[in-house]
């Protein structure tokens, strides 16, 4: 018998995602991923000054404001063929890297760990045993009996107060929850510690970006951080050293806690390496540019077909036509006026045409992107696989460490093939977190060395020609490939499209009716209890879904309305 389940909204994400699954014999046999809100943000930008675009685009998304600001200035600089001073690249790189580490920590502990970790079970744990276990895995200084005891007391008080229900789809006691109480306590304790460390890395963004949550320091042509090592109102040595301390503290947490927890929990859920593979064409873009025009990078990117690392083709610059010409978006199954086939983003259109949820027709506000006419998965897994294929040394080192640690805990050899899975996406994100820590330390060093050479330049003034120019800006964001595309006519924006990471992964069926990464990853996913589809949530959350930027527009009146008093 086939059962249809609808998860709407999928919580612990920002934005609004609906997923429908047909379940037969305890497994998902068909899936639909649907963005339930409309995005028409790009329309606002038409006719505006391209130098202002980033201020608006960073409002597209509440979670990753920074990434849209970065991709936007890069798109305009690309159209102008404008180089960016080295200091500006390094400062941007520090912001980008810190933001990514922040995202990865928050994603694991605060947005998805509760799919795997049972908080209620943690109350039954013996804190001494938990500490012994934690100390056998890592030298982290906060793995003491005292820390675990205190965390358990705090959790107990919280559970007794009856507030646990706030944590959305936490399915406590679900049969798919398999961790022993001590591991649950270990993870829950680190959940609390992670709150502190995610704040510290966010401070790096705040110090360099001048303001948080919306950074203020970007400019087309560079950054607006004047550098004067003696003046308090500029980027001083003191501020630079504060940034370094924060990077190192969080680096310790990433390597000694986050990385180890993902390895241990992943090993204890080894069966989940068999689920959630989905689309195995992987796309990522190079990032952390090391020169003014973006032709050398600290982190490589490219494209892998059918999960075969030998098929890797690099994307080698911010101007690479291999990427520029490869992207198209289809609206055949999206609520937009279509009929022109898949369109390149420069020619993209965003004219809404809502039907209703049609299984074989239109069913989402998200468009369907393709790379050289193939569906592609984006995100940390795609990034890590591409960096491995490119021979990136830190990635190779941390990927090996991850697989070795998992193998040791699982007591059986686990190879790289295990990464193509639901749990593998978590492992890849942790590997990327550690790689990013090293990259941050390196970018800091490069910035300080460059300043100490006497180079204080942070901005090259843009000038806009008459006539039409086009440009695209890419960024390997925490959730994967982000690209902004703009057509500028006589110094004003004529067209603007953002192809965001969640669009790549959450897009509905494409022009050829092929399913997207979410939909493919859900196939054969087990579902023990259709009333509590925890397993579906696990696979979706492993992508770090963020619909807030894929789509927008809110109508909440269809929900239960509470009584409120007018003032």
């Amino acid at each position: 018998m086939t059962t249809r389940i609808t998860v709407d909204p999928v919580t612990r994400i920002e934005g609004h995602l609906r997923v429908d699954c047909e379940v037969d014999g305890g497994k998902v046999t068909k899936a639909w991923s649907s963005g339930q809100m409309w995005r028409g943000i790009e329309l606002i930008l038409q006719g505006r000054d391209p130098r202002d675009a980033w201020v608006f685009t960073q409002r597209i998304c509440g979670v990753c404001t920074t990434v849209h600001a970065v991709a936007s200035v890069r798109a305009v600089e690309n159209a102008l063929k404008l180089e960016v001073p080295l200091n500006a690249q390094y400062i941007r790189n520090l912001i980008i890297g810190a933001h990514s580490v922040h995202d990865h920590i928050v994603h694991f502990y605060h947005l998805s760990a509760l799919d795997w970790v049972d908080i209620v079970s943690a109350l039954k744990a013996d804190p001494k045993k938990a500490a012994t276990l934690a100390q056998s895995l890592s030298d982290w200084h906060l793995n003491s009996v005292q820390e675990f005891t205190q965390a358990q007391q705090r959790l107990a008080a919280f559970v007794e107060s009856g507030q646990l229900g706030v944590f959305g789809s936490g399915y406590w006691g679900h049969p798919a929850m398999k961790l022993p109480p001590e591991v649950n306590l270990l993870a829950a304790t680190h959940y609390l510690q992670a709150l502190d460390y995610q704040r510290r890395i966010n401070k790096v963004v705040a110090i360099l970006g001048a303001k948080t949550p919306h950074i203020q320091n970007l400019a087309v042509g560079g950054v607006a951080n004047p550098i004067n090592l003696d003046s308090q109102s500029t980027l001083t040595l003191e501020k630079l050293y504060a940034v370094k301390t924060l990077i190192d503290e969080v680096g310790d947490f990433v390597r000694q806690v986050y990385f180890v927890d993902v390895a241990a929990i992943g090993a204890l859920y080894a069966d989940w390496t068999a689920f959630g593979k989905g689309v195995t064409n992987y796309l990522s873009v190079p990032d952390l540019p090391l020169d003014g025009k973006g032709s050398k990078f600290a982190l490589p990117g490219g494209y892998i077909e059918n999960g075969d690392l030998a098929s890797f083709k690099p994307i080698s610059s911010f101007q690479d036509p291999y990427f520029e010409n490869g992207v198209k978006e289809s609206v055949k199954h999206s609520w937009y006026v279509g009929g022109k086939g898949a369109l390149h983003p420069y020619d993209g259109e965003t004219n809404p045409h809502y039907t209703d949820f049609q299984d074989d027709g239109k069913y989402s506000w998200v468009k369907s992107p393709t790379f050289n006419d193939q569906r592609a998965q984006v995100g940390p897994l795609a990034n890590v696989l591409c960096m491995l294929a490119a021979g990136h040394e830190p990635t190779k080192r941390y990927a090996k460490l991850m697989l070795d640690t998992v193998s040791a805990v699982a007591g059986t050899p686990v190879g790289i093939g295990a990464l193509h899975s639901t749990i593998g996406r978590h492992a890849a994100r942790a590997i990327r977190g550690a790689v990013l820590y090293e990259a941050l330390a390196e970018q800091w060093k490069l910035l300080v060395e460059n300043i100490s050479k006497g180079d204080f330049t942070t901005f090259n003034r843009p000038t806009f020609p008459k006539g039409e120019i086009r440009g695209f800006g890419t960024h390997e964001a925490p959730r994967g490939v982000l690209s902004h595309w703009t057509v500028i006519r006589d110094g004003k924006i004529a067209n603007y499209q953002a192809v965001v990471p969640t669009t790549w992964n959450a897009g509905p069926r494409d022009e050829s009716d092929r399913i997207g990464p979410y939909e493919a990853a859900l196939l054969d996913n087990p579902v023990a209890d259709p009333e509590k589809p925890l397993e579906v949530i696990r696979t979706l959350h492993s992508f770090d879904p963020c619909l807030a930027c894929a789509v927008h527009m809110v109508d909440t009146e269809n929900q239960e309305i509470i009584r409120v008093t007018a003032v």
Binding site: R59, G62, T65, S161, H552, T556, I562, A566
Partner: protein
């Protein structure tokens, strides 16, 4: 004592950004004492954790859809606030409710949370408030000022805040 006035909303969707416009207006029209911080939170989630953790009293200004006429102002306080966050009348509660729960778990939740809401009229894509809601800004600012007054920070209309 620290008080945070947090404007939430997406300024790209007309009245959806009313909370952000309201806190900007508050800052323009009143000089506030140092213990009051005013933050444009946009639609951010976890990024706001640190900012909220520092506050004893949180005043959220946001667009809310209650079914009442556009421009209707609502004030939620005390027991009404958890109920507000359990149902979905603000587009942003998904992030904020978890944020507050997380802070409670961490022992850093504000002592009081008050929501000042305005029912929007136009949620289509575009900058700026609809004319009907733009005329409500003065009243929203007054309600927020009254809220500050309740917390011992008298704010005279159009004038300067005086330490209480």
């Amino acid at each position: 004592m620290s008080i945070l006035v947090l404007g939430l909303g997406n300024i790209l969707l007309h009245d959806e950004g009313v909370g952000v416009h309201a806190v900007e207006a508050l800052q323009q029209r009143h000089r506030l004492p140092p213990e009051v911080s005013v933050v444009d939170g946009g639609t951010c989630g976890m990024d706001l954790l640190e900012i909220i953790a520092a506050a004893r009293h949180l005043i959220v200004v946001d667009a809310v859809k209650t079914g009442a006429a556009p421009g209707t102002l609502v004030r939620l306080a005390g027991d009404q606030v958890p109920a507000f966050f359990r149902t979905r009348i603000s587009p942003h509660q998904l992030g904020l409710s978890e944020l507050l729960a997380t802070l409670t778990l961490h022992g850093e939740a504000p002592d009081t949370v008050t929501v000042i809401g305005c029912v929007p009229s136009d949620l289509t894509t575009g900058l700026g408030l609809s004319p009907g809601i733009a005329t409500r800004l003065d009243d929203i600012v007054s309600v927020v000022a009254a809220e500050l007054g309740r917390l011992g920070i008298p704010v005279t209309a159009g004038g300067w805040a005086v330490l209480g």
